[in-house]
Symmetry: C2
Subunit: 590 residues, 2 copies
Amino acid sequence: MAVFPAPQSRPTGVSRYLPVLHWGRQYTKDTLVSDLVAAVIVTIMLIPQSLAYAMLAGLPPEMGLYASVLPLVAYALFGTSRALAVGPVAVVSLMTASAVGAITAAGSADYVTAAITLAILSGLFLVVLGVFRVGFIANFLSHPVISGFITASGVIIAASQLKHILGIKAGGENLYLLATSIFTHLGETNLLTLAIGVGATVFLFWVRKGLKPLLTGMGIRPRLADLLAKAGPIGAVAVTSLLAWGFDLGQAGVKLVGAVPQSLPPLGLPSFSLDLIAQLAGPAVLISIIGFVESVSVAETLAAKRRQRIDPDQELIGLGAANIAAGLSGGYPVTGGFARSVVNFDAGAETPAAGAFTAIGIALATLLLTPFLAYLPQATLAATIIVAVLSLVDFSILGRAWRYSKADFAAVAATILVTLGFGVELGVSTGVALSLLIHLYKTSRPHMAVVGQVPGTEHFRNVLRHKVVTDDAILAVRVDESLYFANARYLEETLCAMAAERPAVRHVVLIGTAINEIDFSALESLEAINDRLKARGVTLSLSEIKGPVMDRLKHTALLEHLTGKVFLSHFQAVEALGGRLEPRSRPVAA
Amino acid sequence: MAVFPAPQSRPTGVSRYLPVLHWGRQYTKDTLVSDLVAAVIVTIMLIPQSLAYAMLAGLPPEMGLYASVLPLVAYALFGTSRALAVGPVAVVSLMTASAVGAITAAGSADYVTAAITLAILSGLFLVVLGVFRVGFIANFLSHPVISGFITASGVIIAASQLKHILGIKAGGENLYLLATSIFTHLGETNLLTLAIGVGATVFLFWVRKGLKPLLTGMGIRPRLADLLAKAGPIGAVAVTSLLAWGFDLGQAGVKLVGAVPQSLPPLGLPSFSLDLIAQLAGPAVLISIIGFVESVSVAETLAAKRRQRIDPDQELIGLGAANIAAGLSGGYPVTGGFARSVVNFDAGAETPAAGAFTAIGIALATLLLTPFLAYLPQATLAATIIVAVLSLVDFSILGRAWRYSKADFAAVAATILVTLGFGVELGVSTGVALSLLIHLYKTSRPHMAVVGQVPGTEHFRNVLRHKVVTDDAILAVRVDESLYFANARYLEETLCAMAAERPAVRHVVLIGTAINEIDFSALESLEAINDRLKARGVTLSLSEIKGPVMDRLKHTALLEHLTGKVFLSHFQAVEALGGRLEPRSRPVAA
């Protein structure tokens, strides 16, 4: 059995906010080599992805490249994950298209400005969350909701790319509109485009599934084979670009990427308008939180494998800085991507410097490779996107949630259906709202068990589940939930009704073993219960109240006016209230 | 000590939805007399209040009377409280003014139509909640938020009536706008109006505080004295109307109520528009929920005194029916009023029939008394409102919440400040949102205690609070919270970090005594924890998992892949994992 090495030391002071100061000091030549190798591999993977996701977002291809330069440097300075690769990702690109598309038409200058503004707003929001350490609000997104949302987004993204594979014009921000639009324009399909699109898709699926076994069969080491397989998309880009150039496919109606400016990312603030900011604030919040949740789960999964530590609040600052950098350099919202982070990790990235080196790689590409991109068919990019997002689609979450809990299933199903039917923003909002409602509903009617004594012991158990003895004069109730505003009224109603239904009861004892908190609403309800029972000559006592809960109750009017007492153990309570504690021959079953 | 009579039988079948079938069968002559007496007294109290609250809502005075006829009959048929007196109330009238005023100007025909539409929408919403038995959503409103909201509304209402006391034109939907508007127009004060307004206010305060002692001093029975004091407002109405008529005060610039149509409530549907419905849907939901929460608390307080039972879901239907009736008979949103329900109860109302008799009283008033109302000064109505709402204002909730919990204080304070500063709708929404956020925040970082054995016992306690013994190879953690999406990620991070910080640990045991639920997000986190610990050669076990939680876990992948076991008691867990259980000389303190 493995014995742990000493845990990694935790950064403090300035290096908490600038983790580079922490890992930078321990940087060696070996680390440099590892990071450089990883950077080369991620760069090769990132070039086609950046172009493709920019297209998905409805933006010019160079914006995808710009979003893969400075943001990576910013994350390298401020982020805490050693393997996370940030940049444009599929779901955030779709959300950008949805948010910006609601304001202005794709292709216009306003559209670009809005996307840049969205990046800066998301960045600022993330930084604010990080500085005030309120990253907990990401917890609003439950696992099932985020899984459902990503699955549904994957379907929409794949469907949205069919038009590029078919070479037709079509659009729509939900599945129904997309499908009808594609069906209407099906007759306009360009067969050459279709051939390239289908060819590229099949090739990329084969690369993903079949290339690695082939290469290892040829005697290549599995790890190298794996990395070569990741370079598949760049191969598809090169081959289809050459075909388009050689056969002049652009003239034959195949849509190509066209001229891409051959320059480094332009620096500067976009021209803001308060109006635009007001319109984009809501989507920026959603994009930030979804990007953060996706990114931090990847970062934590990878960190766990190497016993490293992620600081979620600092991650907010790292991702925030990356998005601000994207906005200041002509990019659009970015976050940590799952596939490319895994590649980065597997390729041996040891520090965030690998990300900075990747940024240099992409910067070189914007200077040197852009002339060749003019001949790249859009269908190839669409194929890249489809193959990438279909790995995100996983409807099995529906089955697993159904088997475990119908309530969780309802939240996932609603998220998927609303995302598919009404778009991403309403989809994720519905999921969050429904999860909250379900949680409130479940805790609003807590399980309340009447308990009796297990004969001959000091233990008390549910009278419905165990053979126990009870005393008709004492009603002992264990509430299996913290008492707070969502169940305060229910507690009052139910406890008073339980007492009213048992005419012989003279003492009610509330058992606090499962009560982790009593908020002010519940305190007022307890006071009301005390008064209502008192009016009928019944006392109210408490037993087994936890330390922190008792600390808070100490100086309240409730304890002052309590008609009964507070007992440390329920056994003491029953003893003091004169309950018959001996095991008797009459076990009460209900 | 009192012995309870047998509890009231519960209605079933049709009489669940139509409680009148239940209590109607037991109706006797004695009950009739009691109900009639109560009805006369409530009628006398309700006439000036109905006129005053209609004025507060910006509506013609007769709409207040209409809202006090059919809605009372509808509630008598469908409601479950035997003492609740429904009709126009202060807070709901203010919310009506705010909602309708945001759409159209007071005094217009559209304004009246909107108020009627609002009543119907609120009614339908309440009925739907009741039929689907989802009244639990009223739990979103915590005690502190509703107290803060009512207090702030009381202040705004009182301030809004100052213009009538001064005889000037002024307005504004938050305190700042109201205050500046009043200040600007202060020079236009009408001194005669001021004299009547101040005189009526002082008289009504004296009636409330001083009349009862005076009457009892004169040998009148306390209960009768109390009821006579409640008739104070009708006295003020009569005296000031006579003064206005005798001295022709209308000519001297004193604003009078003016001509009121002398007719029964008009029946009929208002002319709806989908646009209007869309604009009013949000406010209708807020008004319904606030009206319901206010009303049901009054109903429950009174029912408790007589060992009667309120069915909250049926109350939704009762209040919904009352609001639909209001909308169909030219009224505006209604709910159960606190003061008048107490009067109804004290006057001896025994069944909801008292409400129906009150409706007859008000209907007679609309036919016979309306000519006399023409001379009633608006300042008198304003005085009635001010005296009534100031009894709702109770800032002590701030102090009590502060002493008990800073989090609850924040929710109350925010509700009061936002209501005063930005109006009722934003105020109550802020309170609800903040309560939810606070609840999520509190449960998102649950208390997690490392426990050790109390020497010589089978008990395990927090190592930080007790002298206990631990085994370095076993990390036993008790989580004091249900595990759900808000804390699933935190649990994963924290538990794995705790294990990582203790190099000698080979077994982690999660103790479930305070875990009332594990949702699907938490299940996935537990699977992740199991995997992450497994990667380091550490096992994960569970102990003392509650019955309902275990039932759900049984057929999951978690239990299939769990590296450790599930133990009934934590003592068994430590024993089975080879922990040193004997008391030792080395108690671990941290």
